[in-house]
Amino acid sequence: MSEPTQPSREYLAAPVLKIGALAWLKDNLFNSWYNSLLTVITLLGLWYLVPPFFKWAFVDSLWNSSAEACRDIDGACWSIIPNNIKFIILGFFPNGEEWRPLLAMFLLLALVVYSKERSRWNKYLGWFWVSGLIVMGTLMYGGIFGMTVVETAQWSGLPLTMMLSFFGMVAAYPLGVLLALGRRSKMPAIKTLCVVYIEMIRGVPLISLLFMSSIMFPLFLPDGMTIDKVLRAQVAIILFTAAYIAEVVRGGLQAMPRGQYEAADSLGLNYRQTMRLIILPQALKIVIPPTVGILLSAFKDTSLVVIIALYDVLKTTKVTLSNPKWTGYSTEAYIFLAVLYFICCYAMSSYSRRLEKELHTGY
């Protein structure tokens, strides 16, 4: 029985290529000959693209100057944004009343931030949203508390985009759930109506519904009766989004095991109680991530109202660009708008991913 040999106390330094930055480079960028080649090609491509873009966007650019000064430079003319920011964001809202749409947007933002925490999701939250949206509408329309009336024709810019998408989402959601329930109903007539509605709406582009609302719908109304243009577009967006939500919710309903229905039946619950207390809470929970996806695309789709000449934030930007003073700076204006949309959508989609992770707990 010999003593086990003690390992030598002198450690060798790890090979250079196994730790630290060099190892990271080797593992992640040069781990095989074709990856090395790809890395080199990509870096070359970036070298050709990024510095010129950087020069255009940051070095040669003007950030807050007059339109005339912009004509003399090669770089980006970001000045179009600060010079027209009020019109791009608020559009035709009357002068002196700007605090109203700003407050409304702030309110909406506060609601969104408040709703982020899952611990605050209870039945009061729904009422919060409904009352919040009503307050928003009142702020925008006015007519009480000494606020002058602002017709919806003057609603434009970012507030219009936000109203269209958030009112659309809040109204489309319950409608979508009802449609999904109808589609799963045992009553053939109700089921057929819901199936036809859902499939028809999902089969046509949103633009055809917007056309319907803007040029066809006025023909449906009795003589002398008019419904305002923004409201018509809003209804079209709601009807469109509801069909998509219905399909997502149907997926959730189908995922409910039969045992849940049978358990509810054996407790003596009727249809409404079964749905309200047992099925919907679970089904709606598992479809939260895809629902956020639908809401996200609804938000992006509100930009389509440009085509029926509503002045959402995209249209106000286009109007700004049609001003001869600022013509030719589309790239800058559209990049600004893209960043704006990206921030909103990215926040939503990363939130949905986080929710998905949190909710992925089985039943």
Partner: protein
């Protein structure tokens, strides 16, 4: 209106319940009510519409389709002039929609697959770049992207006189992309026919090869043979016809280019926007599909002794495709539907042509109905295909 079921406790009382607690009768009442409401609302709208149409003296019916359209369309795939009928104009629009959708779908699948695979690459740089591409493009409305590309064409590109000429035969200017094409020659027709014959032959060869493999176990390289033949035989046909190399090179005459093929800025911007937007979604689908194939599957395939190519071809792809194809088709459908945004940048697709028609004739109902019908046709045929595909795939499952 919530349909209700009676409580299940009725078993205690076997006597017939009153009609409002009888499930069947109550369901009947609900349905009759629902249908009645739908019918009443439709009738109300219909009668309103009738009076409105009469008052504004707008014609009804599709009789206008035979009338002269009397508007020009920028780009057409078939012969068309302002003297043609509305039917022909609509056909031109529909063909334009199909053209942009078809090319868009092909490019989207290619770009989306490349980006999706790149996202999974072990190369940190290109994987992150692909990730950034996916995030950015998914989160910017497609209409904004269309406007952006269209503005690039109109503002960043010079006039034809100073057209950019990155390499011989290609010009970029605010009139679009102009590039050289081979001059028309009977050899091209022969090449096309040869390719078609090779593809048909390859299909049958593949079937025969599979049957033989099933019977005898000996594999037959049908795909590789077909691929080789598809390259070599058309080239042979080209050589037989005297190997014509004459090119139709665009030339600047006056203010515009003559010769070559011109792709309009409208079409390019629409195609670019649709492809870039949709391929970001396709990339995510491809990534998820490939990741859905378990690691064990690949290890098992390698353990059985399959080569890496065979692992991909026989084990990974068939399973990944089953996950990929359904959402992929719905993205293709989305692209087709989004092509209706062409109207915003002035490309004459079906919706844009119909819109012009509505403005001229005032027949909004017929016009919107036509738009809906055409897109419903696309959607329903796609879902028919999907049902067929799902059924076929279900058979493969255990």
């Amino acid at each position: 209106m919530q349909p209700q079921q009676p409580p299940a406790t009725d078993v205690l009382k076997p006597s017939t319940p009153p009609f409002w607690r009888d499930e069947a009768k109550r369901a009947l009442v609900f349905q009759v009510l629902a249908l009645l409401i739908v019918a009443l609302v439709s009738y109300y709208l219909y009668s309103n519409t009738q009076t409105n149409l009469e008052r504004q003296s707008i014609a009804t019916g599709f009789g206008f389709l035979d009338k002269e359209a009397s508007f020009e369309i920028g780009e057409t795939l078939i012969e068309y002039s302002a003297a043609d009928t509305y039917t022909r104009a609509l056909l031109v629009g529909a063909l334009n929609t199909i053209k942009v959708s078809f090319i868009g779908i092909v490019l989207t699948i290619i770009l989306g697959t490349v980006v999706g695979i790149t996202r999974l690459s072990s190369n940190w740089l290109i994987s992150k770049l692909a990730g950034a591409y996916i995030e950015v493009m998914q989160n910017i409305p497609v209409l904004l992207q269309l406007f952006f590309w269209y503005a690039i064409f109109y503002e960043a590109f010079p006039s034809p006189r100073q057209a950019l000429n990155p390499f011989d035969g290609l010009f970029l200017c605010n009139r679009g992309m102009i590039f050289a094409v081979p001059e028309a020659h009977p050899a091209h027709g022969a090449m096309g026919w040869t390719l078609l014959l090779v593809l048909i032959g390859g299909y049958f060869l593949n079937r025969w090869g599979r049957r033989r493999q099933a019977a005898t176990g000996i594999p037959f390289p049908a795909l590789r043979l077909t691929f080789a033949a598809a390259i070599i035989l058309p080239l042979l046909a080209w050589a037989v016809y005297g190997a014509p190399t004459a090119m139709d090179i665009p030339e600047l005459r006056g203010f515009n280019f003559q010769g070559g093929v011109t792709v309009s800025p409208e079409f390019s911007a629409l195609l670019l926007g649709l492809v870039i937007y949709t391929s970001a979604f396709v990339a995510e689908i491809v990534r998820a599909g490939i990741q859905s194939v378990g690691r064990g599957q690949i290890e098992a395939a390698m353990a059985v002794g399959l080569k890496p190519g065979q692992v991909l071809h026989l084990v990974v792809l068939p399973q990944a495709l089953r996950v990929i194809i359904p959402p992929l088709t719905s993205q293709m459908l989305n692209l087709t539907k989004n092509s209706s945004l062409a109207i915003a940048i002035g490309y004459a697709d079906f919706v844009a042509v119909t819109n012009t028609m509505i403005n001229q004739t005032g027949q909004a109902i017929e016009g919107v109905a036509l738009i809906m019908l055409v897109f419903l046709f696309f959607s329903l045929s796609t879902s028919l295909f999907m049902n067929w595909y799902n059924k076929k795939m279900a058979l493969v499952e255990r």
